[in-house]
Symmetry: C2
Subunit: 362 residues, 2 copies
Amino acid sequence: MVTVQATSIRDVAALAGVSVGTVSNVLNRPAMVAPVTRDKVTDAIAQLGFVRNESARQLRAGRSRTIGLVVLDVANPFFTDVARGAEEIADAKDTMVLLCNTGEDPRRELRHLEMLEQQRVLGVLITPVDTKNQRIEAMMRRGMPVVLVDRRSNRRNRCSVGVDDVLGGRLATSHLLDMGHRRIAFVGGPTTLQQVAERREGAAQALHGRAGSLLTIETPSLSISTGRKAAEQIAKLSATKRPTAVFCANDLLALGVLQELTRHGLRVPQDIALVGYDDIDFAAAAVVPLSSVRQPREQLGRTAADLLLEEVNDPQRHKHRQVVFEPELVVRESSSLRRSGLRGSTGTAPRRGAAAAVSLAD
Amino acid sequence: MVTVQATSIRDVAALAGVSVGTVSNVLNRPAMVAPVTRDKVTDAIAQLGFVRNESARQLRAGRSRTIGLVVLDVANPFFTDVARGAEEIADAKDTMVLLCNTGEDPRRELRHLEMLEQQRVLGVLITPVDTKNQRIEAMMRRGMPVVLVDRRSNRRNRCSVGVDDVLGGRLATSHLLDMGHRRIAFVGGPTTLQQVAERREGAAQALHGRAGSLLTIETPSLSISTGRKAAEQIAKLSATKRPTAVFCANDLLALGVLQELTRHGLRVPQDIALVGYDDIDFAAAAVVPLSSVRQPREQLGRTAADLLLEEVNDPQRHKHRQVVFEPELVVRESSSLRRSGLRGSTGTAPRRGAAAAVSLAD
DNA sequence: GATCATCAATGAATCGTTTCATGCGAGCAA
DNA sequence: TTGCTCGCATGAAACGATTCATTGATGATC
């Protein structure tokens, strides 16, 4: 097979009998070309199968039409929902979303950021692996708009959309305490992830001034398989030391924990209660429907894209904002059993706190 | 904030006191630049925060360093695993993967293909929405390498990697027949998706010459929520008409079916047996661990990327190949109950067929 | 000291677009 | 007829890199 030499705007111009400038006008400002000429050009384009070279366009026009979305894990439904939200907004503005997966690996994150900057994307939505990321700072200094996703920026010099993770951790843990649990484990990591650190912090806050202890099991990542490994450690503990409730930093971990506890003959929620985070679709469909802290995932993506495009389209007027959503605890079977010793009835979840709703779902 | 005028290779050259050609050499062929000069240049690059403009590079060099991966649904773990496999291979060859999500929408698919071709990507891996896709044919005629993913090409003029979906459908349905089921439903759609059509075809084949009927419930997509809707229809049927077993075209559907059946008081597997397809991680973690047809997902992605890069790097020697993997039935609780009337014991799965392994997993 | 090979660095040409100042012809008013 | 405006079309000049023929400097060899 012969690789065909790509046809350029010149070939189209030649075939249509017009100048290259006119072809470009047909492509970009069809209104200012006479209908007869326009038809000649579009015919020529169709006949030659011409496809415009985006590199050349971008080089000259100095402006790309894509934004980058850098996430920790595309296999995590949380992020695919965020992506969906971002795409929805971008689509409406004729902008494409480049989805990049770091797999929580700083080196891959760096590679993706480099690529995005080399491509001169309009801007970047990112959930960074590390709290401190030199590269991001540098990019911003060079004028690249960046919005942090699922992370709060303490600095005022950039936009961020996030969910109050401390509150989320507090909600989950208070609920477990209310259900009569005293030995609670937090499973999650790495703690370099701000989300993880804050959810744990929330758990610690909930315990403040109340009877109960928090055992932290740090994991290297947030996947189902690491969840299984963490549960193995828990299962190995003696019954008197073993926590009676586990709060996981996300649902994937929780699902892994659930599988592995079950394999070891530990029942959820009878022996160990379980609460996850994110409320992904699979949580409700788990062996034991999983209590979880729900975040407005698509909303997060939409808001992030909105903020970014606002900054892109009008950098002068744009004011950096830090948007924080509130999470919501969804109680399901995995944590709905009141701890024995406090009369063993299946209790419904109590409302706690003013701002945060605690809802009971199927 | 002032948007800084992007620094170019000229600025670097000026600061380092060398020519632009030398800077380019440092970037692309550092070995042929004297160490002293090289250091001057790299210092200048660092000092200016220079980031190479990929558009310009690509325009002149005439060659990009990315491949496109177009999938039906990024929220489906099947595809994220395929993506992971493809990325693994691409990474090793210093190539980036652009992940594009069509959401089974032909219009979005078209937009993504246009964008990829405009960007002059090295090639495209795609699971097309329609069996016949003009645009793909056109792209190939223009010399763009394309590999079909999770789909068999009957034509010899292109590469494809797929799994024998007819066999998969046969495995699942034979298993259900062996467990004593006679009224079996197939849930899946749209049938324009080749995978769906073939899995159904396999189901029909399994019934050939055996007692039993196949009820087809066509769905508009392959998500959890459409699965719920399908289950609603099933639940509405009278007990005598209702199928005793359901085979779903993928696991997401099956999980949805499972949730909704349970909500209607129908027990799995006692009232209705259930088999899914893909064996995603969540299948084993479902309320009732889900029997499913397993496909070598990452392998699929790796092989596809391998084929594509082979064609890209040596178009002369490359021979198009159609790789077909064999699926494997994994029997779990959702279908492991032998149908009453044939003595109601929990049976283990029988081995069926020569090539296809039927394994019993936890 | 002349000749030649080797190694580095140079800078102009080029990739395929977009953009914009310029040209041109038709139509219209004076 | 002249002078203007208006509507389209033109084509040369960018954009920022890569590439390659050419030049220059340095040693080595005779």
